[in-house]
């Protein structure tokens, strides 16, 4: 005889619980935590390198670099002046989860931080389902990708607070229409804060830094 049992169990409830704990811990220390997501190669590590060189004397910055296989990004970030850098090798998983982040944070003295960057694994699908306890997700695309990226990965753009469009030094070299990319992104998420930058030339990185300053001070005064 068949018996049907209603359960209503959220599939990733375990992850959500851990993420909530991390959010609480970081919140108590007033650390702004940003989860950077993009396809591989959009420029997450480059943006963090630039951020370190511009802001490392202003804020105490911690960096977590997620990667499927290597510690290369973590090494790049240390070279760029990152004092508190932890790699997370996911061993095949295409996203970070709250358990991995929690473990990495155990190795960091979080009392000494203002700002925590989490470079997620290069992927726009899976990371959107896994809350890490961050304050915000920042999604990056670059002008060497399609301007329809937001339409292909709506969940990620919907869940992000800011969009960084990188590599504007290469505008005009491809069919990428930056206004169309913005329009596509706004159609998914009208409250996205959008910044157009180049990590190569440094163009508009002041906008990024100003935005970070604003978010850090909001968090401190929250």
């Amino acid at each position: 005889m068949a018996e049907r049992v209603q359960v209503e169990e959220k599939v990733l409830s375990e992850n959500d619980k851990l993420a909530a704990q991390i959010r609480k811990d970081l919140g108590a220390r007033k650390i702004l935590a940003l989860n950077l997501v993009s396809s591989p190669g959009s420029g997450k590590t480059s943006l963090l390198e630039k951020t370190l060189s511009l802001l490392k004397d202003e804020f105490r910055i911690g960096l977590i670099a997620g990667d499927v296989q290597t510690e290369n990004d973590a090494i790049r970030l240390e070279r760029a002046g990152g004092k508190i850098v932890r790699p997370i090798i996911t061993g095949g998983a295409c996203h970070l989860d709250a358990r991995m982040l929690g473990k990495a944070l155990e190795k960091i003295d979080t009392d000494s931080l203002d700002l925590l960057f989490i470079e997620n694994v290069g992927n726009l699908v899976c990371p959107s389902g896994f809350d890490l306890g961050e304050d915000m997700k920042v999604v990056l695309i670059s002008t060497t990708e399609g301007d329809d990226k937001p339409l292909k990965y709506p969940a990620m753009f919907r869940k992000s607070s800011a969009l960084v469009i990188n590599k504007i030094d290469l505008l005009g070299l491809s069919d990428f229409d930056i206004d169309k990319a913005e329009k596509n992104a706004r159609q998914i998420n009208g409250s996205l804060h959008i910044m157009r930058i180049s990590c190569r030339t440094g163009d508009n990185l002041n906008l990024w830094c100003d935005w970070l300053r604003e978010q850090v001070s909001r968090k401190k005064n929250a």
């Binding site: 068949a2 049907r4 209603q6 996203h95 389902g129 969940a155 706004r186 009208g190």
Partner: protein
């Protein structure tokens, strides 16, 4: 993959704690904004279940449309093409009510 694994391990635990030997069906709700593709989920589930006591279990996937409400004019509407703009007043202040879920709804044991 990860999601399929979570579904299987949750179901195995439930099966054990409720003292059943056969699980006929697992019901899941997958929102269109959950970032889970039902086809891939089924593929992963069918692959992973083979080595478990769930090898005969069916995964019943119900997809959930994106339902939204406009914060400006209160209009309720369904979002088909990922346009999060109110069709009534054109506002971008749109709140998603349904479509993000990823839930195991029921287990049918035998």
């Amino acid at each position: 993959m990860r999601v399929a694994r979570e579904i299987i391990s949750f179901s195995q635990q439930e099966m054990q704690s409720r003292n059943f030997n056969v699980l006929k069906e697992i019901g899941v709700k997958v929102g269109k904004l959950s970032c889970i593709d039902p086809e891939s989920l089924r593929f992963a589930f069918d692959m992973l279940k083979k080595e478990t006591e769930l090898s005969g279990t069916e995964l019943k996937i119900e997809t959930v449309s994106i339902e939204a409400v406009c914060r400006s004019c209160g209009r309720e509407f369904i979002i088909d093409e990922f346009v999060f703009i109110c069709p009534g007043c054109g506002s971008y202040e749109v709140e998603v009510r349904k479509g993000e879920e990823l839930i195991i709804t029921h287990l049918t044991f035998e």
